[in-house]
Amino acid sequence: MTELDVSLTVNGQRRLARVEPRKTLADLLRQDLGLTGTHLGCEHGVCGSCTVLVDGLAVRSCLMFGVQADGSEVTTVEGLAGDEPGSLGPLQRAFWETHGLQCGFCTPGFVVSVTAFLEECPDPDDEQIREALSGNLCRCTGYQGIIRGVRLAARLRREEQEARA
C-alpha cells in the first residue's frame, strides 16, 4: 500500500498529508486534515455535497484523488467564513436570511458552488441561477430558500462592491 506525500494550501494554510493514490480529495480533506465541512452524499459526482474550490474553480472533490491536488490551492466551506472569527461570509449570511438550509448536509456544497458562480456571474437572472444550482442536490428545502438566498447574495455583493467603490 504505497502512500504519496501531498502538499497543498487549504483555506490559506499550507497543509501536508500522506495518502494512498486512491484516496479522494474529499476523504483527504475530511480524514487527514480534519475538515469535515465537506460532505459525501453520493461519491459518484452527482450530488455536489463535496464541492470545494481547487485553484479557484468549483469541483467535486469526490472525483479527484487527493494526490492530484498536490501543489494546489483548495478552499473548503470552512474557508468561506467572514473575516472575524466565528462570523459568516456574505453568501452564508444571505442563506441564513432566506432559510436556505434545513438539515444542513448539502449546504457546504451549495455555499462553495454559489460562491464560485457569483464570482463569474455577479448579476444572474433566475434562469441562470437555477441552471447554476442544478449541479447540487438538496432534499429538504425544495430549493426555494436556496434560490432566494442566491438572489439576496448577488444583491448584497453588488451593494458591498458599490459601497467600496
Binding site: 459518484h44 459526482g45 455536489g48 474553480l57 469541483v59 484523488f65 464560485a116 437555477r130 442544478s134
Partner: protein, 294 residues
C-alpha cells in the same frame, strides 16, 4: 464507494505519458478530467492497476489555428470550450455544445480529450467531432496518427485507440462565412446525459443552403451522421426546407437502445424534434451572419 488500489503516475510530457502507456498497456487508464473515469472506479466497475494522470502535461493544452484548421489540445477543459474566443470564432459548434455538458463544476475539470476517449453514446463532443469531419490526433511511442472522427468511435464506450495511444488534440476544419451552428438536446433534467441530441452546422449563400452537417447523439452506439438529411438540405432554399419532415426521415432508420430513461422509440421521436430545433437555430444564426461571397 471507494476505488480499488492502483499505482499512480504523473508524467510531465507526452513522451513520458506514451512511454508509460507502452510499458503498461491494458493495465493502465489515462486520467484527465476524471469526471467519467473516477465514478467508474469508485463503483469498482473499472479497476485499472495503473493510473496515468496527464493533468500536468502542458503540451496537451493550447488552442491554435492555422489556415483552415483549428487545433484544440486534448487537455482543453469544457469550461474553456465555452469561453475561448479562438474556438468561438473558428469552431462555434464546440462552443455551442459545451454548456450542455453536465454542470459547471464538471466542466471545470472535464476535458475534450477525455470526452472523446470515453465515447459515451450520449455525449455531445463526439457528435460534434463527427459532424465536422474532425480529425483526432493520437500519439504513442510508435508515433503520431490522425484518426477521422467517423472512424474513431467504434461502439458504445469503445474507440479505435490502441491501449498504448493517447489522444493529444482535435483538428477541426473551419467553415467559411455565412455559417450557423447549433446544438439541441433533450435530457431528463438540466445537465443530464442526453436522451437524444443534434449538433448541426449549415452554410448559406444567396438564400440557399450550400453545406449542412448533422451529427446525432444518444441515437445509437456511436454518433450518427445524418447524411440523408444533409443531402436533402444541401441546395435547398432556406424558406422552403421542411425541417420537421427531414428530421423524421433522418431518425426513421435509426434503432437507438432502450433503457430506463427512455425507449428507443421515444429517443427517435425526441431526436427528430432536436434535429428540427438545432437546424432551425443554425439557419437563423447563418442568416444573421455575412453570407459567403457577400
Amino acid at each position: 464507494m471507494k476505488a480499488a488500489a492502483f499505482d499512480y503516475h504523473r508524467p510531465a510530457s507526452v513522451d513520458a505519458a506514451v512511454g508509460l502507456l507502452a510499458e503498461l498497456g491494458d493495465e493502465a487508464k489515462v486520467l484527465a478530467g476524471g469526471q467519467s473515469l473516477v465514478p467508474v472506479m469508485a463503483m469498482r466497475l473499472g479497476r485499472p492497476e495503473h493510473i496515468v494522470d496527464v493533468n500536468r502535461v502542458a503540451e496537451l493544452e493550447g488552442v491554435s489555428r492555422s489556415d483552415g484548421t483549428l487545433r484544440v489540445g486534448a487537455l482543453t477543459r469544457h469550461r474553456a470550450l465555452e469561453r475561448d474566443e479562438l474556438i468561438a470564432g473558428a469552431a462555434p459548434l464546440l462552443t455551442r455544445a459545451a454548456p450542455y455538458i453536465g454542470h459547471f463544476q464538471i466542466r471545470n475539470r472535464g476535458t475534450l480529450g477525455g470526452s472523446l476517449a470515453h465515447a459515451d453514446p450520449a455525449a455531445e463532443l463526439p457528435a460534434v467531432a463527427v459532424a465536422l469531419d474532425a480529425g483526432i490526433e493520437v500519439r504513442s511511442a510508435r508515433g503520431t496518427r490522425r484518426i477521422p472522427a467517423g472512424e474513431f468511435f467504434v461502439s458504445a464506450f469503445m474507440t479505435a485507440l490502441e491501449p498504448d495511444e493517447l489522444v493529444t488534440a482535435l483538428h477541426v476544419p473551419v467553415w467559411g462565412p455565412g455559417s450557423g451552428f447549433a446544438v439541441a438536446e433533450l435530457a431528463r433534467r438540466q445537465g443530464d446525459f442526453a436522451l437524444a441530441g443534434a449538433a448541426c452546422g449549415v452554410q448559406l449563400r444567396g438564400g440557399l443552403i450550400t453545406r449542412a452537417a448533422v451529427g446525432l447523439f444518444g441515437m445509437g452506439a456511436v454518433p450518427v451522421r445524418a447524411r440523408a438529411a444533409e443531402q436533402a438540405l444541401t441546395g435547398a432554399s432556406v424558406g422552403e426546407v421542411d425541417l420537421d419532415g427531414l428530421a423524421r426521415d433522418a431518425v426513421a432508420p435509426l434503432r437507438p437502445a432502450s433503457d430506463i430513461h427512455g425507449s428507443g422509440a421515444y429517443r427517435r421521436r425526441a431526436g427528430a424534434h432536436m434535429i428540427s430545433l438545432a437546424l432551425d437555430r443554425a439557419l437563423a444564426e447563418a442568416q444573421g451572419t455575412r453570407e459567403a461571397g457577400a
